[in-house]
Amino acid sequence: MRIARVLLSSQYAYMLEYRAEIALWTLSGVVPFIMLALWSQVDASGGGTGELGLNRLQLGRYFLSAFIVRQFTIAWVVWAFEEDALQGRLSHALLQPLHPLWRYLGAHLAEQATRLPFVALLVGLFFLLQPDTVWLPSLGQAFAALLAIWMAFTINFLLQSAIAILCFWSERANALERLLYIPYLFLSGLVAPLEVFPPAVRAAALWTPFPYMIAFPAQLLSGNPPSISGGFAAMALWIALLLPLVALLWKAGVRRYSAMGA
């Protein structure tokens, strides 16, 4: 616990040194708002009849929720890990009796804490511009959404960690991460709610981890969830699959570490 507390506080102090950068990163995550404008136009051209499966209000709440979920599930392990491995900084972390991935986890959580006020500001601004979308989730709904966001972050963090560990083999793992970005963008529900996808695509997407990274927590938060138990079960399954995968990859990969640049 003490390690967690100290890691978080030092990483938080570090992130605060870069608060302007984090504010810009937060601003750069407004894709859901752009998509909201786009889908609202599509809905309006259809007479606002909710042909997309969601009415205008639901669309607004969904994309606002997607924005919030995205802000607290972003993972950048691949980038940080690859740079640390190539520059030799990973060596210091490997020489301490603490798994290096804990440091990255601490950095992510600290960054999320730094993002919090900027996200709150943007949410406030959104409500100011669209006052009819204001809603307050129930306590149970908020708790479930928080849990889903945390699990979504865990899936994203583990998935990225698995790719990051491939640095031990390829040295350019972020290229692989790029490959995953496209399915993430479209299947996660970031650019469109899953309801607008053809049923076959939606069914296929549900076999991937992507809808659980944005869509499911966003649906929970916006009060329009599909199967809650099914969603949580799928998330738990993905975490249960990814955890041992990361452990196995780490064990095999670290043998190949050549401490280059160090």
């Binding site: 003490r2 390690i3 507390r5 100290v6 890691l7 030092s10 102090a13 570090y14 040194e17 870069y18 030799g88 900084r89 060596s91 210091h92 490997l94 020489l95 301490q96 009796p97 603490l98 043998r255 190949r256 570490y257 050549s258 401490a259 640049g261 160090a262």
Partner: protein
């Protein structure tokens, strides 16, 4: 019982090969070629607890790779290795708590925060409570002559201050085995001297074992009674620095100050003339002829001052590596 025991240690890397230019780049893109580089081969040595050992060798001789294997960063390709009773590559927590690796050109301190923040993290990672951590930080800071620098962001520190803070971070958990790779690299003469004094002091206080690589021979001569010289990945010499100098340089350097200048030809019967600068002459004289030659010099010439020394170890080692192949 040795604290470090390496038997026939070897490490082979696969290294990509690329020719320069556009053609080379295109060929490299379609047909990757690589070759195996034997960074360390059949290296055997042992170190007793509390020893301070210098690790010498030219660039690429395999010093850093060996240190990385000893500290568990890199898996050996072959041989046996036992460090502080552990197989380093398993990186067990008890092993990691007993060692440290300081790399002069790499830093572990968080760049934008004061060193104290990094020390807090290290203290937590190594399970030191706040009181003990504070006590150790104060003790090491005093030994390293660090004060208000510890509250300044690392990026605002000078190279020397940063290196001292790095040392503090690396030694906070009080390791009994120190692997130091160029710990004085880039430091000015005064900072180098302070780091040397600190390391000697740390070794004395805590009985720590130190294995040190440095291109600054002053580090080795000041700290290491024993040196390991590796060449092309293999062990070339293991013993005292003095004996190494004798082995590599069969001559001693005799500096003379004469009453009047003389031509070089006047010294040919005493030894090899190294340099002549007016009344000052430097001669290289074979060790077994030294006594006789000095007696004759004093008898034959008007000598105001005479000094006998070993040639600088840098020159001796430098000549050795320049020759390429060690005899």
């Amino acid at each position: 019982m040795p604290i470090v025991c390496a038997e026939r240690l070897s490490k082979t890397y696969r290294v990509a090969q690329k020719q320069p230019g556009l053609g080379g780049t295109l060929r490299h893109f379609f047909w990757r070629r690589s070759r195996l580089v034997e960074a360390v081969r059949d290296l055997s040595f042992s170190i007793e607890p509390g020893e301070m050992v210098g690790f010498l060798g030219a660039n690429g001789a395999g010093k850093t790779t060996t240190l990385k294997m000893l500290s568990g960063l890199v898996y050996p390709s072959g041989g046996n290795l036992l460090v502080a009773g552990h197989s380093p590559q398993r990186r067990q927590a008890s092993f990691l708590r007993s060692i440290t690796l300081v790399m002069g050109q790499k830093q572990q301190l968080i760049w934008d925060l004061p060193p104290l923040d990094s020390f807090r993290v290290n203290a937590a990672v190594y399970g030191l409570d706040d009181t003990e951590a504070k006590r150790r930080i104060n003790e090491l800071a005093e030994m390293l002559e660090l004060g208000e620098e510890l509250t300044r962001p690392v990026r605002k520190l000078s190279l020397g201050e940063r290196m001292k803070a790095e040392l503090l971070a690396a030694l906070l958990h009080r390791p009994s085995l120190l692997f130091l790779d160029e710990p004085t690299l880039g430091l000015d003469v005064n900072a180098q001297a302070r780091v040397r004094t600190f390391l000697a002091d740390y070794n004395r206080r805590h009985g720590a074992t130190v294995l040190l690589t440095s291109h600054y021979m002053a580090d080795i001569t000041a700290l290491c009674p024993r040196v390991l010289l590796i060449h092309q990945g293999g062990l070339f010499y293991d013993g005292s620095l003095e004996a190494l100098t004798q082995r590599l340089s069969p001559c001693r350097l005799v500096r003379l100050e004469l009453k009047t200048p003389l031509p070089a030809s006047a010294f040919s019967s005493y030894g090899q003339v190294e340099a002549i600068d007016g009344r000052e002459v430097k001669l290289l004289i074979a060790r077994d002829q030294l006594t006789g030659a000095v007696a004759r010099l004093l008898g034959d010439l008007e000598v105001l001052d005479l000094e006998v020394a070993d040639p600088p170890i840098e020159d001796v080692i430098g000549q050795l590596f320049q020759k390429g192949v060690v005899q």
